[in-house]
């Protein structure tokens, strides 16, 4: 009981001390919200972009329109605004002053009249994602025109056009918005992992390197409390602030998804509250892992500045696999669950997409991360016990 009491006293002091600190509070309460805001803005922006383009009238600069008056009429009938092409179409598309330019080359009218394949050139910029939908709509209209002309020619020869269409292909779009939502849900794990490694970092620094640099560590250590009790009290305070940051962020994400779903952005998927609670529980061992690492780094660093530098870099490492998984999803394997942060990234992803997660995977992730955390805390306790604790290094 005395041990618990000591740890509690240290925990309470560090918590109150840091609740009075603007920097600690910003990291725990403001940073996590910024992540959700950024993602929310991104969702609104991309959603708005996709939506806007599918309804807005298409305008298309055309060079050599006099070569193919029928094609131009067809495009106009499909709602395409035909405009005069810029002087240098390639440059214009590259610059982005035009999304795409249709060039009807010189021989087009002659070839068309002679019933040879008549050339058409679409100048596009494939690196500009925002033009993809527009270009594909124009291409679809051009194909349709080509089909109709071809069928008319076959009929003129007394051939049923179906003969030239051995396949009847329909692509069924099961929901653009759903895929898009999935993409954004995949971006949550890296954000959450980042928060886990940043939310309480200021406490880890302040309660160890800071205490040493202020000169308050020496009188503190002369009190009748075991070194590992001090370490654990400080680690718990860091844990509490990190947990606070994670909960704030999850809440912000939940609100963000609700707002986005309510607005007409075409993204309707919002994970329910139990999924968010599952994520919070799943993150508990990982928060412990992050805190233990931070305490170790802060203990062996020579100065406040040095600790700040190392701990500033720390979140980049575990966030990386998550970033990659946003773009290249992998199939979850059981051994991946045993790696702290990696297993959590995969499991958080599943929970957020409302997919079932195997209990074995959860058990392996929670079990191994907890075990590694316990080992790290043991190392931290040993480091606290050294003479060097007083001086750093």
């Amino acid at each position: 009981m005395v041990i618990v009491r000591n740890i509690w006293i240290v925990f309470a002091k560090e918590s109150i001390d840091n609740l009075r600190d603007r920097r600690s509070l910003i990291l725990a309460l403001v940073y996590p919200v910024i992540g959700a805001l950024l993602l929310g803005m991104l969702v609104s922006f991309v959603g708005g972009m996709f939506r806007g383009q599918s309804y807005r009238a298409l305008s298309l600069p055309v060079e050599g329109a006099d070569q193919a008056p029928e094609l131009i009429n067809f495009l106009a009938a499909k709602g395409v605004n035909i405009r005069l092409a810029p002087v240098d179409p390639h440059q214009a598309v590259r610059d982005g002053t035009a999304d795409a330019v249709l060039i009807i080359p010189d021989g087009h009218a002659r070839d068309f009249a002679a019933r040879r394949p008549a050339g058409l050139e679409m100048v596009v910029n494939a690196t500009r994602l925002s033009t993809v939908i527009k270009v594909s709509r124009v291409v679809e209209i051009l194909r349709e025109y080509g089909r109709e002309v071809g069928q008319a020619r076959l009929r003129a020869h007394g051939i049923e056009p179906e003969i030239a269409s051995p396949l009847n292909l329909h692509s069924i779009n099961v929901g653009r918005s759903r895929n898009l939502a999935g993409f954004f849900l995949n971006m949550l794990p890296p954000f959450i992992i980042f928060t886990i490694f940043v939310g309480g970092v200021y406490l880890a620094i302040d309660t160890t390197s800071g205490e040493r640099e202020r000169g308050s560590l020496e009188p503190l250590l002369a009190n009748p409390v075991a070194r590992w009790e001090f370490m654990l009290g400080k680690a718990l305070a860091t844990f509490a602030f990190t947990l606070m940051a994670v909960l704030v962020q999850l809440l912000a994400f939940k609100i963000m998804f609700e707002v986005v779903a309510a607005g007409e952005f075409g993204i309707k998927i919002s994970p329910d509250l139990t999924a968010f609670m599952g994520v919070a529980l799943l993150c508990l061992p990982l928060i412990g892992f992050a805190v233990a690492l931070q305490i170790i780094v802060a203990t062996v660093s020579r100065s406040y500045k040095e600790t700040q530098t190392y701990l500033g870099l720390l979140p980049l490492i575990p966030s990386l696999p998550g970033m990659i998984l946003v773009f290249v999803p992998v199939k979850a394997q059981i051994w991946m669950m045993a790696i702290p942060t990696f297993g959590q990234i995969l499991l958080i992803g599943r929970l957020m997409r409302q997919e079932p997660a195997a209990w074995l995977n959860i058990a392996v992730s929670v079990g191994t991360t907890s075990l590694i955390t316990a080992l790290l805390l043991y190392v931290a306790a040993r480091l606290y016990n050294r003479d060097q604790m007083l001086f750093g290094a």
């Binding site: 002091k13 308050s216 009188p219 009748p224 003479d387």
Partner: protein
């Protein structure tokens, strides 16, 4: 009671303490005096358990400071070389934190804090956060948190360092008061006048060795100097020769 027996300590291969012995008794003020870098702070740090000796023993009321840390920590009050405060805590909160770490709680703890605030003249800043405290105010807080549990052994590392005359005198009065309660006071200083005015016993340390040990009168007689400053300089210059009565007391 504080006993030091054959204490040794090296940092990075440099021997800072080369085997020192002395005793600080209850009801006495013992001054540990020596030039800068002589090993005073290192000695105190091993006594108040934040460093471990390489050899020899540091004992407080018979408990070994490196083997029986908690027992020693319960019996000591410490004003270390580093006496930093937490800028976001008030003076009272500092003292309360240390009091609680010594197992004090509730009304008893608050009464002790009130007494120390009163005794050390901290009333006008006791509830203000410590950021911006003067050197004297900082020292008072550091002293209060070292004494809140009324330890039987008090160790003070250069307690009047950097203080003005009034504050220095207040600290000296407090030290005498602790002695008169029958407690053991060990403090380090490099100010001869202060040591002379306060100490029942003087231990001179130089270059990691004890070079003189005795009460002021004994030291004056042994060196033939009337002035303690001369005693000090002679002892340090002779290096390694123990002057005075050693452990014997009249």
């Amino acid at each position: 009671m504080i006993e030091v027996q054959g204490l040794r300590k090296s940092f990075n291969g440099v021997e800072v303490l080369r085997g020192i012995d002395f005793t600080a008794r209850d009801g006495e003020i013992t001054g540990l005096i020596g030039p800068n870098g002589a090993g005073k702070t290192t000695t105190l740090r091993m006594l108040y358990t934040v460093l471990r000796p390489d050899g020899g023993r540091a004992l407080v009321d018979g408990h070994d400071a490196s083997l029986d840390r908690l027992q020693v920590q319960r019996r000591i009050g410490v004003l270390p070389d580093n006496r930093g405060l937490y800028p976001r805590l008030t003076a009272r909160e500092h003292v309360r934190y240390f009091g609680r770490l010594h197992g004090l709680t509730g009304a008893e703890l608050e009464a002790r804090i009130d007494r120390l605030v009163d005794r050390l003249g901290m009333a006008d800043f006791a509830d203000r956060r410590s950021k911006g405290y003067s050197k004297g105010q900082t020292l008072k807080v550091a002293l209060a948190r070292a004494l809140v549990h009324e330890p039987a052994n008090v160790m003070l590392d250069e307690p009047t360092n950097g203080l003005d005359i009034a504050s220095s005198r207040a600290v000296r009065d407090l030290i005498r008061e602790i002695r008169d309660q029958g407690r053991c006071v060990l403090f380090s200083s490099h100010i001869m006048g202060e040591v002379e005015a306060l100490c029942d016993r003087i231990v001179v340390i130089s270059d990691g060795l004890i070079v003189a040990d005795g009460n002021p009168e004994e030291l004056r007689q042994a060196t033939g100097h009337g002035n303690l400053e001369e005693v000090f300089l002679t002892a340090v210059a002779q290096g390694g020769t123990v002057v005075g009565a050693g452990g014997d007391r009249a």
